[in-house]
């Protein structure tokens, strides 16, 4: 791309804010009541962190993998791609994240979690709670319809934020592979919302920044 410095983010925005938010409305209607299932899976993952049991890491990883796969197919591939040709690449990235969880968390069983007294664990749980409960309310609080709500496991934003929260609760060093795609998605989604002059554009980058900063700090403390 020549004269790349003359391009702004708005040059890459292919749709209007109205079309973008309406996409969620149509998507929610299309997949209903799958949102209840995905939200329940998120609550179950949080419950497993609080009340550990055998195979905890494998089950949580499987839940996350399932949600990333669902968002890749149902949201990006079938819906977002109708207004954004780049969404097929987003779908690929989400599938890759699901594969990382399957390989690292399910096959290798390399996902274990901190004790509930550890600060990163508590912050991680708070981030997951934010993604499950608070983040879906942001749109309606800003005047968007309830039908356009973005739910964990069904929409990409709360899924990425909850994943970052879960990675904060993980013990020891988690693979950078699990972090990269959720962080990149937070940046990308924030950029899209910022370009659309949406007041909640800061939420995703802020969540990513918080998670990376705390994760980095915890990693250095544990050596």
């Amino acid at each position: 791309m020549s004269e790349w410095w003359t391009y702004t983010l708005s040059d890459f925005l292919l749709f209007s804010p109205r079309t973008y938010h309406r996409l969620f409305e149509l998507y929610n209607a299309d997949i209903w009541p799958a949102q209840i299932v995905t939200l329940a899976l998120g609550v179950a993952a949080l419950g497993l962190l609080r009340y550990p049991r055998a195979g905890q890491g494998r089950i949580v990883a499987a839940i996350l993998a399932g949600c990333w796969l669902w968002v890749a197919w149902a949201f990006h591939w079938r819906n977002y791609a109708t207004i954004n040709w780049a969404a097929i690449y987003f779908a690929g990235a989400f599938v890759l994240e699901a594969l990382f969880f399957i390989v690292i968390g399910v096959v290798r069983s390399a996902l274990a979690f901190e004790s509930p007294s550890a600060a990163p664990y508590r912050i991680g749980c708070a981030v997951i709670l934010f993604a499950l409960i608070v983040q879906p309310l942001v749109g309606p609080l800003l005047g968007r319809g309830w039908t356009q709500v973005e739910v964990f496991g069904a929409a990409p934003d709360p899924t990425a934020v909850a994943t970052l929260g879960l990675l904060l609760t993980a013990r020891g060093r988690t693979s950078w592979m699990l972090w990269t795609i959720p962080v990149l998605w937070c940046v990308l989604s924030g950029a899209v919302l910022w370009t659309m002059e949406s007041p909640d554009a800061f939420v995703m980058p802020a969540a990513a920044l918080l998670a990376v900063a705390i994760g980095w700090s915890a990693k250095h403390r544990t050596g």
Binding site: S2, E3, T6, F15, R22, L26, T82, I83
Partner: protein, 320 residues
């Protein structure tokens, strides 16, 4: 056709007349070329069109863009709204509808609208080729035709000059074979003007598409004069700077002297500034609203500003 004088009668008269006379001649010629459409068909306010220099075919001076506005995916309600915009555009005499494979679902939405309107006969289909691989250009154009559901495009241009060295030979071959009527190149936001100049000088283009508005006038210096010299039609994209310009101007009152150019609203004011440049063939504002498309089409009626008035318009907009 002699490309040094591609406008035929209009071009030759322009060499003898001042600019105001040239514009009057254009207006008169265009009003006679096209029948008056239904909206505001007032003989005192002629419907304005411009000839495509390479053929003499008349095009209304306002077309319809589809960037962002028609990319509504599978949303049936929004698709129907776009079809209504198209219906009003065509009913008020509009012809050129512009899209690109880069615009998400816009091509399919145009195809949906055309089917819903029963395949209107008098529209002018303008699309683009936008792919790095020159070998894939034909296949992409065929796919675009499928989406529009048209047998051939009137105009295919190389979008943002992407791989133009490879696509232009293909497009000229398609034109020779009657698979497309006109060939062009596009750019936007003032980018790659030196390169587009080079292409304009070396290749027998029918059209170029560039950005131009009362506050973005780079093309006046070299591109537009060159287009006149070379007999190349000029389509203006982003005339309202994706709506930002007209939103800004609507906060201010329309000056009383705007009526001297038959401008009843800001859309007409901003569009008439653009299309009154003698090298411009048409502008292609995009919208999702029927009231806006009707406002835009209002610029096809009445008098166009002369050069002093154009300077006044530009200064006023800059000042605001």
């Amino acid at each position: 056709m002699d490309r040094s004088n591609p406008s035929g009668v209009v071009g030759s008269r322009a060499t003898r007349c001042d600019r105001r006379g040239f514009l009057r001649a254009l207006t008169a010629l265009s009003a006679g070329t096209l029948g008056l459409p239904s909206l505001g068909a007032d003989p005192a306010k002629p419907f304005l069109s411009r000839p495509i220099p390479s053929s003499g075919e008349a095009l209304p001076i306002v077309g319809l863009g589809s960037w962002i506005t028609f990319n509504v995916g599978n949303d049936r309600v929004a698709r129907d709204a776009c079809a209504e915009v198209m219906r009003n555009f065509l009913d008020t005499g509009g012809r050129m509808i512009d899209s690109s494979p880069m615009y998400g679902s816009s091509q399919e939405v145009i195809g949906y609208g055309l089917a819903k309107l029963g395949g209107p006969p008098r529209f002018f289909s303008a699309d683009k080729v936008w792919i790095s691989s020159g070998a894939s250009g034909r296949a992409q154009i065929a796919k675009s035709r499928e989406r529009w559901n048209v047998s051939r495009f009137d105009l295919v241009a190389v979008h943002n000059l992407l791989s133009w060295q490879e696509h232009l030979p293909t497009l000229f071959a398609m034109k020779s074979a009657g698979e497309v009527r006109y060939v062009g190149v596009t750019t936007s936001e003032g980018r790659r003007h030196e390169e587009i100049e080079t292409i304009m000088r070396r290749h027998p283009l029918d059209f170029i598409q560039v950005s131009y508005s009362a506050v973005e006038r780079d093309v006046e210096a070299r591109i537009l004069p060159l287009a006149r010299d070379r007999g190349i039609a000029v389509v203006i994209n982003r005339p309202f700077r994706e709506g930002a310009l007209i939103r800004a101007m609507k906060r201010h009152p329309l000056p009383s002297w705007a009526s001297e150019a038959d401008c009843a609203n800001w859309a007409e004011f901003l569009l008439k500034f653009i299309v009154s440049h003698p090298a411009v063939t048409c502008a292609i504002p995009a919208t999702t609203r029927v009231d806006h498309v009707r406002e835009n089409m209002g610029a096809c009626y009445g008098r166009l500003p002369d050069e002093p008035m154009r300077r006044r318009m530009s200064a006023y907009v800059e000042q605001m």
